[in-house]
């Protein structure tokens, strides 16, 4: 079990329920692949340092979760399919994380 963190940059025009459904979908993928979401931290709309897809503002969401390594390929495949996700970055935080539950 490894601990990962994904920072997502979402379009500011997304309505809150589409955004919630998108995030629920991603969390569903994590659960389905045998992972567990620890923290879902929404930073809200922030100004971007440079225009992304002609937008100067974006909605940031940070997901922290544990799971096996294979989970990432599946999760990123879903992120790429999803609409309204401009950018994302996945970082491994910790290696051997024992199951806390």
């Amino acid at each position: 079990m490894r601990k990962f963190e994904t920072l997502l940059l979402l379009s500011p025009e997304l309505s809150s329920e589409t955004r919630a459904s998108l995030l629920a979908g991603l969390k569903g993928v994590v659960e389905r692949e045998g992972g567990k979401v620890i923290v879902e931290d929404a930073w809200g709309i922030r100004d971007l340092a440079y225009p992304v897809k002609k937008q100067m503002r974006g909605f940031y969401v940070r997901l922290e979760y544990t799971g096996p390594g294979a989970l990432i390929a599946e999760l990123e495949r879903n992120i790429r399919i999803a609409e309204g996700v401009f950018k994302f970055v996945t970082v491994k935080l910790a290696d051997a994380v024992e199951e806390v539950a």
Partner: protein
Amino acid sequence: MAFKKKFTPRKKFCRFCADKALPLDYKRADILRDFVNERGKIIARRITGTCAHHQRKLTVEIKRSRQMALMIYTATHACDVKKKSVL
């Protein structure tokens, strides 16, 4: 007789070694901004004084925060530069 050099540069130290609590993280663009010049370029180690180990981690974190639009790549972006109209 060569007199002693008056200019004694201030003692440079690695901020990440000195202050363990300082998070070296792509999400904290405010801290990373101290290691980038005003045009958005990464400042050399010999000027900021960071040690090799932390400088390597620093460059990775800065590049990640640039990718996530938390920090700028260059001060003047292509779209800001007025395109010369080709007549």
